[in-house]
Every structure is written in C-alpha cells, then in structure tokens.
Amino acid sequence: MPEASTAAATVTATAADIATCDREPIRTPGSIQPHGFLLALTAQLDVVQVSDNLGQFTGIEPRQALGRPLIDIIGSRSAEALTPGLRGGQLRERPAHIATVSLGGEAFDVLAHAYDALLVLEFEPAHASHAADVQRLYPLVGDFLNKIGDADTIVELSQLAASEIRALTGFGRVLVYSFDEEGHGNVLAECRADDYDSYLGQRFPASDIPRQARELYLLNRIRLIQDANYTPARLVPPENPLSGKANDLSFAALRSVSPVHLEYMRNMGTMASMSVSLIVDGKLWGLISCHDAEPRPVSFLQRTVCEQLGQILALRIKNRADADELQFRLEVRRVMVGLLGGLTQGADFIENLRSVLPELLRFARAGGVAIVVDDRLITFGYTPGEEQVRALVDWLSTNVHDDLFHSAHLSARYGPAAEFTDCASGLLAMPISRIHQHYLLWFRPEHVYSINWAGRPDSKQLSSTGQLNPRTSFDIWRQTIHGASTPWHEGELELALEFRTALLGIALERAEQMADLAEELGRANKELEAFSYSVSHDLRAPLRHIVGFSDLLMETAGGDNAERRHRFLVNIKESARLAGKLVDDLLSFSQMGRAALRPVRVRMEDLVRSCIDKLAPDLPDRRIDWRIETLPEIVADPSFLQLALYNLLSNAVKFTSERDTAIIRISSEQLAGETVFHIADNGVGFNMEYAHKLFGVFQRLHRMEDFQGTGIGLANVRRIVERHGGRVWARSVPGEGATFSFAIPNPVDIA
C-alpha cells in the first residue's frame, strides 16, 4: 500500500484496502533503506543493534559489531567527533545532525535520535549530495521568502514552493496538493521537467493515505525514498535488544517503506520520491510531493531546507486562509446586518422577510429561497414546486432536530430530492420558530463537475495471496458528479445560525408586541362593551323621562296645579340637558381611547393653574382654599393630562360643596420610576367598600340629585393615566374627604 508522497489510484477504498493498510507495519518495518547504515547504542555507547549492510561501509560483519563499543566500529577519530553530541541526554526523538565523519575515506552525515532507550545513529554518505553547500542553499531560502511575500493566493504560494523545491533538489516533478474535507488530495501546483506527465488539477482518493500514515506525517515532516529498487537492509538483531520489541523507526530518516509502495513507485516510473508535510493548525493540510525517474540522493541539509520551506509555505497558507475566511465572513456578516435592518422595518414579520428576498439569496449564495410559515409559502428565485417544498419541510420537521440542516447533496439524504436536483441539490434549512413548523430554506442548484482521478478506481486489486497490488496505469480517469451543489462554507453555516438567533429574537419581540396588542384590543373591546351598555341604559333614561313628563304635562294642561306643571317642565329640561351631556361625555370618552398621545415635557403647576382658571366662572359663591405645592415637570400629553386634572379638580370642587370652606390640596412625590400626584379634598368622601367601582364607566356612588354628573369623569381619568402607562387610585374616609392619586412613569433615560 502506498504510504508516501506519490498518489495511489483507488476512487473508493474497499474494506480490504483499509484493513490491509491499517495492518501494514509502517512504523516498525525492521529494516532500513540501504544507502546508509544504522547503529543502535546503549547510553554507554556500546553497539547493541546494527543494519545488516554494515560490512559494506565498515568491513565489520554485523554479528561481530554487537556488544562492542562505538569506537571499535568507526574508529577513534570518528567516535571522538560524535561523542560530544551523544553525551548528556541531549538527543531528542527527532534526528539531529551531530557531525560529518570520514569512514574509509568516505564522508558520512551522522543523524542521531533517542528512542525506546536506544541512541540511534544513521550514517548517510555525504558525497551523494546534490549541490549541498550551505552557501548555495540559504540564499535560495531567502529568495523564497521574498517571493512568497508577494504571492496573493494559495495556488501562487504553492506554485512558488514547487519551483523552489525542484530547483533545490533536482527532482523531475514536484506537486503541491491539499486535502479536502473527505481527505481527497487535489493537486494545486506543479513544477516538472518536460518529459514528466502532468498531474495538475487531478485528484487522489483519500484511501491512498491510511490513517496511520497520516499520523506519521504529522510527527515526521519529511520522508525520502531515494531508490525504489533498493533491497532493504535488515536490523540485526531484528528486535530492539533492550525492549525485546520491534524497533519503532517512526523518526528514522532511513526507515524502510512497504514493498507494495515500492512496486507502486516502479509502476509509476518513479525511482525516487520525497514528501514534505504541510501542517496548518495542527492538521495535515497537504503535501509537497516530489518524484524522479532516476534514483536521487538528497542530503540531510537539503532535506532540512525543504522541510523549512514546507513550514514557511504552511504558515503563509494559514495566514492566507485566515485572511480569506475573515474577508468572507465580513462580507456575509455585512449582508446579514442589512437583512436584519430590513426585518425590523414594518409591523408584519413575514412581509418584512418578503421585502428582503434578494438579500436572503445573497446571504447564503443561494439560487432560491423559501419561507414556510403555517399555510403561507413564499418562494423566490429558483426553487422546487410548492408541494415539493411542503413535503421537504415535513421531512425536515420529523427527521432533523438540529437548529440548522445543510447538505450539498440533498438527494443522498432525502430521496425525493432527486426530482429537483436542478434547483435544489444543495439545501440549507433552519426552523425559525421554537413552537411552530416555520422554516427558512435556501436552495443551491446542481453544480455538475468532473473529477480527474489520477488513475482508474478498479486498477488496484487484491492478489490471490491476499496482498494488495498497486495499479499499473496512471492514465486520468474522469468522473462526472451529478446531484451535488457547491458546498456550504463553514463560515456561512455559523453565520446562518447567528442569523437564526437574531430572527428568533425579532420574532419573540414581535410576539410580545402582539400580546400587548391583544391585551390592548381586549381592553378596548371591554370599554366598547361598557360603552354600548351605557348607551342603552343611561341614554334611554332621560329620553323616557322627557316622554313621561311631557305626557303628564299634557294631562294636567287644563289643571290648576301650576307648581306641579312647572316641576314637570324643569324635569323635562334637565333630562334633555343630561341627555346632551351624556352624548358629549361618551364621545369624549371614546375619543380618549383613539387619539394619539403626543408626550412632551409638561409643567404640572401650569396645568393645575389653568384648570382652576377654567373652573372659576362656575364657582362665584364658593370659598375654596387651593393649596398647590411645588410640582415637578413630567413627560406627558398636556391636553390629555389637563382633561384628567380638570376632572379630578372639578370632582374635588363638587364633593366639597357642602363645606363652608373647601380645602383642595395638590401635591406630588417621587417614587421609583414614577411621579405621583395627589388631589386631596375635605369633602363628603366615599365608602372604601365601593372604591373598586370608582373608575368604571357610568359608576356613581352618590344620588343624582346630590351630586350632578354623568359618571364618566373618573373613567376618563383612568383611561388617560393608563394610556400614559400609569395608574390611578383613591382613598377616603367618609365625611372627612377623599384623596385621588395618579402616577405617571418617568421617562427612561436613553444613554
């Protein structure tokens, strides 16, 4: 099974693939690539394990090397050069280059790392390096850093990296590819010699790289196979003598790869390969993958520079991706803010949604949108038919319980969607009510596209021995994808959720407004009932009296009881006057409920004074001691409030008519959030038992002939105060006086 940089060829991994790949002992192959050799030492620098090609490089047979000090194997000069790097526990699990030593006249780079209590030394011939001098390599890195600063897109960045690595290593073809959400690799950039096939734009299936290989790529960021025709050099003894287990060679630069992978490379015509991991946010974002038709040694120094280039590229990709993501989200959010602004304009929530349909489309980059609210269905743009949308919503409401549903391949989740893949291959849907089955749906049309798989999916098969055989053909295999839309972007999904929260907030506010309205309507209705009730009772009475006394008057026309006739005439006149006043009062009462309030800052003292002036002409014979305290300013509708005050003051005047000197006191007090006014008199008062009836329409607590009035005055007062958001009440001790109070809310400071 291929495990390194080159691409394998299955479109869909079979269960056999995965099982086989996961059994592949890639970390513990028990052997190394033979262009170098390995020595495993104890902390005392005694050799306990070697690769079986040791004799080729040192003339010492593997078995003879075991148990001997390092100095016996490589000579005192080389051992002395290495010793400082090996002492003191400074080695880590990633290999470090500790020295270049000479063995038998040949130079070797020595990499050392510590693992499983062993010190692992890897010797690679240094002469094989391709232009491996520092003077040449570091200017290349500097140049790369300069150029990469100017590149705008991830593809441009990748292209630069591919060219640079090819120049650095001499590989015939360098690819940069990224993994998509499913793990497929897409070739973004390529730099190759003319005689190499192009893989640009092709896709390698996710199954190419098994899970354990991906994990290894995260740990060890660069891998090299310098000759696919190699015969592995086995470790002697085959297991770690300290632990008795197979050596974990995860970090060894010379680690041998699977024979299946080598066969695959040969099939592909690739004799050397190298891959560099691109790690973004701790995840394997992609790979830089290098191929060559000939064996190609790459020195440790070159590999280190390539690894650094890979890291620089990954950093730039992260920056670029972050910036792109930020830009994208900013744009979506800008559309959303506009949308929400539009949604709070009018009174009808659904009509508001209707007014922002084009923005709704833009918000989700959709082709069509549907709003389902009870029986109402509003569609806009390119959408399925009404019945299809309703059926879809039914399905959603029973099968999806998340705040957001999205699919870029709806028919795979919901079979009937196959009927309308043209307009709705993609769906983003969210319930917009916590109680009702209300939905907002976005549709994306089908986006037919082709995938150029790097090889036919059926070319990799299990052989009769149960081992995987790699494919032999690397021709492009083209697959056309139907029934899918462009994918939903993660930022879009997050903002859609945010939008939903805002929508629910608006809907909730609307619901509260509706409840307020219903309450208001209920009250208006009750008042209307009281009104019509009063009209039928109270307006009929004076009419009946007029008729009655007129009849009596006619009967007594010839009689001599002049005094009686005069009384009948007075009764008739009074009844007529009362009827007229009733009509006036009823009209003013009903008007009170309808006219709009125009609140402004009002000086209460001015209002009280003008009411008293208005009352004065009717009171020539009365002695009234008005005691007006200092009153604050409030915010209220002055004409309405004056009417309320006038009613209260005229009541106070009326019910003190039997006093020699009426005392009427107007005072105020500040309570939390409201200003309270009191109008206290020393009149007849009323029995507190009937206080609850005081403010009802046509409620009277006194006989008609004792105190004139239609019974509307206090109902008006209550109505006016309540429309200001305030309240009214009254207290009294019969015979001693009454105090009527009302509270008006203080204006809320808008900070």
């Binding site: 009730y533 039928s536 009772h537 109270d538 009929r540 009475a541 004076p542 009419l543 009946r544 009296h545 008729v547 009655g548 006394f549 007129s550 009849d551 009596l552 009764n571 009074e574 009844s575 029995n687 038992e689 009937y690 009836k693 046509f698 009277r700 607590l701 006194h702 006989r703 008609m704 002939e705």
Partner: protein, 151 residues
C-alpha cells in the same frame, strides 16, 4: 294589613314617574322608597337607619338595575343568598333589554324582568300590572309574616 312594596330607585325622575304610576294603580300597599342598593339591603336586613322598622318582608321588591354603590344584581344576589330573604319576589326594572343583564338576573333567580316602556301610558300600565299581580294576586310564600299597615 298589606305588606309594603319596596321600590329601589336612585334616579329622581324615574322615582317620580314610578310613584305616579303606582298611585294610579290604586294599590293599597304602602310603597317604601330607598335610593341605592346599600340602603335597600339595610331595609331588608332591618339594620342601620331601618333597625327599628316594622317586622316582615315586603310583598315585592321593585329593583332598578343600575344603582349607586351596590347595584341591582348585587342586591338580588344578596336577597337570594340568605334564608330570611330568599323567597321575596323581586322584579327587576331596567332601562334596557341587555342580554347579559337578563341572563345574569335569571341566573340569580329574579321573578320578573321588566324593561321600562318609554311611552308613559304604557309605563303606568306596566307598573300597575306589576303591583296588582305581585302585591294582590300573588300568594306569598308560606310562613311569611303578615304586614299590618299602621293606621
């Protein structure tokens, strides 16, 4: 000899017209006038200013629906709720045929519900009929005290 008629009426015009009508019906019963619901209950319970009135329930209560303080329906409810008063015939006299009032009155056990006619002659006839029926023709509930009119 006859039990009185209790007239509960707040409006002075209605009161005058009703008294004229009762006078014309030539009933021998005394007419006791109270001016609101609270006073009516004081009379019926023989309390307050009526603590020392003659014993016995009236032959009929002519009750206006809209009254200050305690309205007609409340008076009716109170009459029906106590053992001493509950058998007194009560006639509701009102200005209008509001359905809610009708329903409520019958629920509370009113004996008759009469809308005052606008035409005075009809009004006189209606009051006379009521007086004759309830005060003369109607047999009062057993056990009620005979009222002796003071001479």
């Amino acid at each position: 000899m006859l039990k009185p008629i209790l007239l509960v009426e707040d409006n002075p015009n209605d009161l005058e017209l009703t008294l004229i009508a009762l006078e014309r019906s030539q009933l021998a019963n005394e007419v006791i006038v109270v001016r609101d619901g609270a006073e009516a209950l004081d009379y019926l319970h023989a309390r307050g200013t009526y603590a020392r009135r003659e014993q016995g329930n009236p032959a009929v209560v002519l009750l206006d629906l809209k009254l200050p303080k305690v309205d007609g329906l409340e008076v009716l409810a109170e009459i029906r709720s106590g053992a001493a008063l509950k058998s007194i015939p009560v006639v509701m006299l009102t200005s209008s045929r509001e359905e809610q009032d009708l329903i409520r009155s019958y629920e509370l056990g009113v004996n008759a519900y009469v809308v005052k006619p606008v035409d005075f002659q009809e009004f006189v006839r209606a009051i006379a009929d009521l007086g004759i029926f309830w005060a003369v023709l109607n047999e009062p509930p057993p056990g009620s005290h005979r009222y002796i009119k003071p001479q």
